[in-house]
Symmetry: none
Subunit: 225 residues, 4 copies
DNA sequence: GATGAATGAGGGTTCATTCAT
DNA sequence: TATGAATGAACCCTCATTCAT
């Protein structure tokens, strides 16, 4: 889902190409593309955009510099492609808790747990920092990241709440706002602490559970009929 | 309050110096120091740490390169000084609402308004991005920023809540957590949107008011006896 | 002889490499390496270590700055490589006179002539100045230069004298000292004059011959049985 | 003796000036001039011309930058003045052994000892290195140093030898050459070793004595009637 | 006359990008 | 097509020199 159209088209062209000539056209081999992005991920996320050198990426990816420039016009485009992919994988499998029926509180807690665990993991925090750090210079990048990542999550939550309202389980005057509140209650405290590096070790599962439970309960006290 | 003693002492020395000899010692003229920091602010906050060049700052500050290096040992120290100042001004005059007595709800709303307005202003958002962007590489910097900024705010809120509890106005099982929740409820939605540049125009005063009011009410519904 | 093994091995690897792929690996093309050193020689020897700028060398060598830094980690290493090479060529073919049998006086005069001519040549004097000028700051460099250059020569002379003693041709109480004396007698006067630039034009062949002959005769008067 | 005329003239002007107004004219106070040179000596001789910074000298001399530039037009001229002075003091009190009458051998040994001790002392070696290092770039400086230092010594030795010949104590075909030979025999071995930093600790008094004695004896064996 | 804060050209070095192989 | 050696602009920083105080 949320398939990346650019890549899909590229994939198709590539497949056709492969069938015809047995070898992908320049800049069209999806395996090599992936290999480059994987190398780029290691380097970009660990060092940030500017401190990462194309040579580092070359080494991490195990391809030559020329090849990278066949697949990506420049450093910035490579970075954007990476962020695109990060965003895609980052928010995968986050919303299953909201899809299953069952008790509202249980669902919200399960979702909150998944969300908090994911979004405060070192890997994801580093990726977010990298995006935030660059988005003064490449504003679309941050916007696109938010739009295709957190915003999607927000919509899922809103849909869930709407559904619960329809079922008479909740009474919410402003669903959009309530969805934001729920998310932020689940991340209370540690999101910014991790983002700024005030905390280096992740919150433990127990801590997340306590925070999420408390957050969901605050939420429900406010919005339960 | 939260005055930076180092600077104060430097200021005093410098004033004495100025009176005595009419010219500030090297690296001791607070006006020039401020001029440099102001130039640095423009450049660093617009471009981020790495993309900002000392030449750019030179130009923006209207001083020569050598002069900058008299006042700051290197790029990093200049950046830290800037962030230190940003942090200081950023969180100034934020907590008066919590100090006055009066209705709890009113106080929280007034505080929430001030906080949200400040923290989502373009200026402050850009500064936060810059810090977040660098803190993979200079982790202490982000930690220090958080510790001396948001954390202080958190403590003020916690103290306020404790006081209200002592007065029997609130019933809160975990004050620390509740303080985080309050803050995040006041920023619900727009903080991350601004941080990632999904929103470019600030939230209008009305929107902030609505969000903060709703947030505070959620909070009070949960914690009022 | 006194071949530098490191370079030899590098040369071999490089040749194999060249045969295999037609293009030398980064920092492995001996022609380019030589080209850089040749440029460095002009600049370093004319201006001394500090006054020589990498830009000057870039220009003199006809390669780009980046390329120099592929072959040599920094200015100092480039300089050391140059000195190493200077030393190697400087003392080449100096000792043949000592290896052939024949009359002791003739051998010593032939050696003295070769030594004096070489060591007071403008090229070699300039190189020595450059080394001497830096060796307050990079002491190992001067020490290494002496150890692998003049000291080797000293040992050759000492060996020759020992041999002559064994044959009963000379009677020397302190061979080490005598070897130094012989060398210095052959350079009497002009070595320091050239080193300090008091003399700019080299000593003519006749002058060298006179000095060396006189020096050797003083030496032999003292040490002939 | 060998008074530096520039300074003498300056001194005179300065004295007149002092008498007239009680305060030296700009750039005319010999005590301040000396103070600057003394600071410069520490810095230049320890670090070499290029690595020495005017700020270092400022600090070492305890005068302001502006003052230095009143007394010396630029770094180079200050350096030259220093070298001039070094040269002057360096060869002071070296020739007394040659002036007293007495046994030729004793005189030569005493002179040789003084010469070798002085010229291989760390201080003097460092000064020589500094001069040699710069004299590719400022050729007159090295030439002048030689001319007013070592060359003077050479002339003293030559005069002594001439005198001894006149007295029938020596038989020397080429007095100039013999004078050089004597000097170099006294420095045999350690001069170059020290110059190149192959030896760091000075030759001990005993070693000098042995070398000088042996050198003088070689010399006398050759030139005694 | 003396001071030292300010200047800015130029230092060594890095690295995104190109293009011959 | 893929490679990586080569390029050179731009980086941060130093320091000889000037000139307002």
């Amino acid at each position: 889902m949320t398939a990346d159209r650019t890549v899909d088209v590229a994939d198709q062209q590539d497949m056709l190409e492969s069938l015809r000539r047995g070898r992908p056209a320049a800049g069209q081999d999806p395996a090599k593309r992936q290999q480059i992005i994987d190398g780029a991920r290691q380097v970009f996320i660990e060092m940030g955009f500017d401190a990462a050198s194309m040579n580092d990426i070359t080494r991490a990816a195990g391809v030559s510099k020329g090849t990278i420039y066949v697949y990506f016009a420049n450093k910035e485009e490579l970075f954007e492609a990476l962020i695109e992919e990060e965003r895609r994988t980052m928010f995968q499998d986050l919303y299953s808790a909201l899809e299953l029926g069952g008790d509202v509180r249980d669902s919200l807690i399960r979702y909150g747990m998944a969300l908090a665990a994911k979004i405060t993991s070192d890997k994801v925090i580093m990726a977010q920092r990298t995006v935030i750090g660059i988005c003064e210079r490449i504003p679309e990048l941050g916007a696109r990241f938010y739009e295709r990542g957190p915003k999607i999550g927000h919509e899922r939550v809103a849909a869930f709440l709407k559904d619960a309202m329809a079922k008479g389980l909740l009474t919410i005057p402003d669903i959009e706002l309530a969805a934001y509140q729920l998310t932020d209650l689940c991340l209370s405290g540690y999101y910014r602490q991790k983002l700024f590096g005030y905390r280096t070790e992740g919150p433990a599962r127990d801590e997340i559970l306590a925070t999420v439970t408390a957050g969901v309960d605050v939420f429900l006290k406010a919005y339960k009929p």
